[in-house]
Amino acid sequence: MKDKSPLLEMRNISKDFFGNSVLKDVSFKLEKGEILGLVGENGAGKTTLMKILFGMTVIRDTGGYSGEIFLEGKPVSYKTPFEALDDGIGMVHQEFSLLPGFTAAENILLNRESTKNNFMTELFGDRMKNLDRKDMRKRALKAIGKVGVQLHEDMLISDMPVGHKQFTEIARELEKDNIKLLVLDEPTAVLAESEAEILLKSMKKLSSEGISIIFISHRLREIINITDKILILRDGRIIQEKPTSSTNISEIAEAMVGRELEVSKREDVRVFDRTFLSVSRLWVNMPGETVRDVSFDVNEGEIFGIGGLAGQGKLGIPNGIMGLFPGGGEIILDGKKIGLNSPRIALDSGMAFVSEDRRDVGLLLDEPLDWNISFTAMQVQNKFLKPIFGNLIKWRDEKAIQNAAKGFIDALEIKCTGYSQKAQELSGGNQQKICLAKAFIVEPRVLFVSEPTRGIDVGAKKIVLDTLIKNNREKGTTIIMISSELEELRSVCDRIAIVDEGKIAGILPATRPAADFGLLMLGTAPVSGGAE
């Protein structure tokens, strides 16, 4: 082993998904025993970078990457994650990958169990070996010892508190005796403060034993406390690479979210006088986007933005209000209390929702466009129906549906072969326009738009945003827009609320500098002089 070469070096890594560039020329080095903090907004390229390192199949399926990776000076390029694991690179994902009915020891040694030979192995192969429970226990205890926590090796995962599950995952990686590099993706997100402390301590211990760590987190305080070096990614580029000792939280925050060019800085600050929608103490059980305690007011005619990092709960807010996920709290629209947990009630009260999940929630992929556009209006408002026999039978009015669809296809420049094309055959941008049409056709008083530009090309993006603004200005629709893209929010919205850990971290006018929002997102520093 050459001591001179760093443990890991990634050189000029670039990656694009079908022409959409997500990583551009990323290079960095990681020394033995070093802890690297990897920070960046969602979509900055952190995940893609790690996927490339691990040789996830999705990378190869989408055309591979360019650039080189060196592990201890040797060039490597993994075809599957298992090859990376064989080389001593381990990763702990944000979602637990544990078997609830197995003990900690069984999980730690999953598919690496200690075995003993018996006569059947000669006949039916190695998988007929007996498990060596004693040795497994020993090895598990050793791995748990490395993490430096109290963890009972015979405890079932299903009986464990969430922190212990996290430790089990880490112990599983450490059990591999050749482990050199550990990637931890948001490991503290699910931990209580005391548990996070323990984890950070054990990370220090590991690094002192010569194991390098890549630590992905949005908790900047933790990053500052523990890392040796911080790498900030934004839009697929390295924005800043500095030793931790020479930077600070606000610098990082600015680097993460700031743009050199303020794309379209809003000049006009609109003033509103009437509270239209009032949300208080909302909680929503949306897996991965849990909302814990959210209160905010939206004015009539306003475009209200909700931002925040992924998994913090911003998506849970519209989904909860619209009744798609169970929740509780109080919603008052135009002075009237609106019941939760029923999409019908929400729709009847004049609210509409363009979901972030186009394929599952937003569209009938197997059905034609005119159905997609008209369905909600037909079911909720009895539009596009012809009564037969008095009002006994409500017959679908195909003509009206088709005409309405044609109107929207023209107005929103939807590229398709006609209203009878199936929704799944359209591109992402055009699908999004169908979703908007579906919402506009019910003429909502309040429109929730969730991640309206996710996964669509630049041209479609502009049309979508312009359409929203136009609708707001001309029809006076109150719009609540939820987006991961801060710049997008700042260019469209009047005020922006930032959600962190299921709560509103703060609400600021869109004209405030980007760094202020960045700090709110990271949940670290309170904004000084926050004026509302």
Partner: protein, 346 residues
């Protein structure tokens, strides 16, 4: 070649093979001294007999409940309607409609309960439907023995209690539909009335699918999350579809009986769901998508094979393999549908 590939992909190999097989049977028929006229009218008669039971699968597929292996439940409702009609002493062609009318309340109640059950077991509908069908048939076996029927045409002669296994509908509604406007040319017989009635019921279902409720039902099957987000009560739609399906099953068996001539009780309805399911799949339906066209094509193809194979095969190779072919074709088709990887599903 590319064009051919597309056709194959669109129709699917099994369907293509079955279609070609039937086609070759019709080609081979004259050489095997099988009269085309008789074969064709047999096919049409069986098509009309079974068509509505195939149609009964459509609502549940539309609402995403999958293939209704629980069809025997609807058939039982029909059997109750039929036996009650005879018990009441209604005779003649009108008794057919009385039977349908009498079956309706049972179909509604059974369908409602069955629908509610299926709503509680989303994702496992098909397996549970199969066994609900089986258990209800077995349960009714006991009931046919116990229920206080007394009409001498139906009750076992020597004991005076319990219904016979097969009951003739002669004098009641035998051929009530089939003979209506029937056309006879030599050996060819066209059961016009039955086909018209089947067309009428198909029209009703088609019309229903064009109403607000029908549209909502289709959306529930296509994407339940979407439908829910659009304010549709998914469970209610599913229940309605199950009720409709059960009712159509009841009507289907009564129409079947008027042509077949007998009411088959006890284990009679046991395996009746499978041919219907196979037929609709052969017609081009999938586990979550079906149209009236699928019903018509499928019922014709499947019944065509059932009528043609024994006669043609018998005279060509002197082996009656029709039963085996029926089993392999129908279950092979269901198997094929179940193992098709659904695109865009998660």
């Amino acid at each position: 070649m590319k064009y051919l590939d597309r056709i194959v992909e669109k129709t699917g190999w099994p369907r293509l093979i079955i279609g070609l097989f039937l086609f070759s049977l019709f080609i081979a028929a004259p050489f095997a001294q099988v009269k085309i006229g008789t074969s064709l009218s047999d096919t049409l008669i069986r098509f009309g007999m079974n068509g509505i039971m195939v149609l009964a699968l459509v609502p549940m597929i539309h609402s995403g409940c999958g293939l209704n292996f629980g069809l025997p439940l609807g058939i039982i409702a029909g059997l109750l309607g039929a036996t009650i009609t005879i018990e009441l002493g209604a005779t003649g062609a009108a008794s057919l409609f009385i039977a349908i009318l009498a079956a309706t309340p049972f179909a509604l109640v059974f369908g409602w309960g069955y629908g509610n059950l299926l709503n509680r077991v989303k994702g496992n509908e098909m397996m549970i439907a199969t066994y609900v069908g089986f258990s209800s048939v077995a349960f009714m076996c006991m009931m046919w023995l116990l229920l206080p029927y007394s009409s001498p045409t139906m009750v076992w002669g020597y004991e005076g209690v319990g219904l016979r296994t097969t009951i003739s509908v002669e004098g009641f509604y035998l051929h009530a539909l089939s003979n209506f406007l029937a056309v006879r040319i030599g050996t060819f017989f066209l059961p016009t009335g039955m086909l018209l009635f089947m067309g009428f019921v198909c029209f009703l279902v088609w019309a229903f699918l064009h109403t607000k409720t029908g549209t909502a039902m289709t959306a529930v099957g296509s994407n339940p999350v979407f439908a829910r987000a659009s304010g549709v009560n998914i469970d209610r739609m599913r229940t309605i579809s199950v009720i409709l399906s059960t009712w159509l099953g009841a009507v289907g068996i009564i129409v079947y009986q008027q042509s077949f001539g007998f009411i088959q009780l006890y284990m009679g309805p046991f395996y009746m769901a499978f041919p219907a399911v196979a037929a609709i799949l052969i017609g081009g339906a999938s586990v979550n998508k079906a149209s009236i066209m699928n019903v018509l094509i499928g019922a014709f193809l499947f019944q065509g094979i059932l009528t043609m194979t024994p006669s043609v095969m018998n005279s060509i190779i002197q082996m009656d393999m029709s039963e085996v072919i029926r089993i392999i074709v129908s279950n092979g088709m269901i198997l094929y549908a179940l193992t098709r990887v659904k695109k865009g599903a998660h």
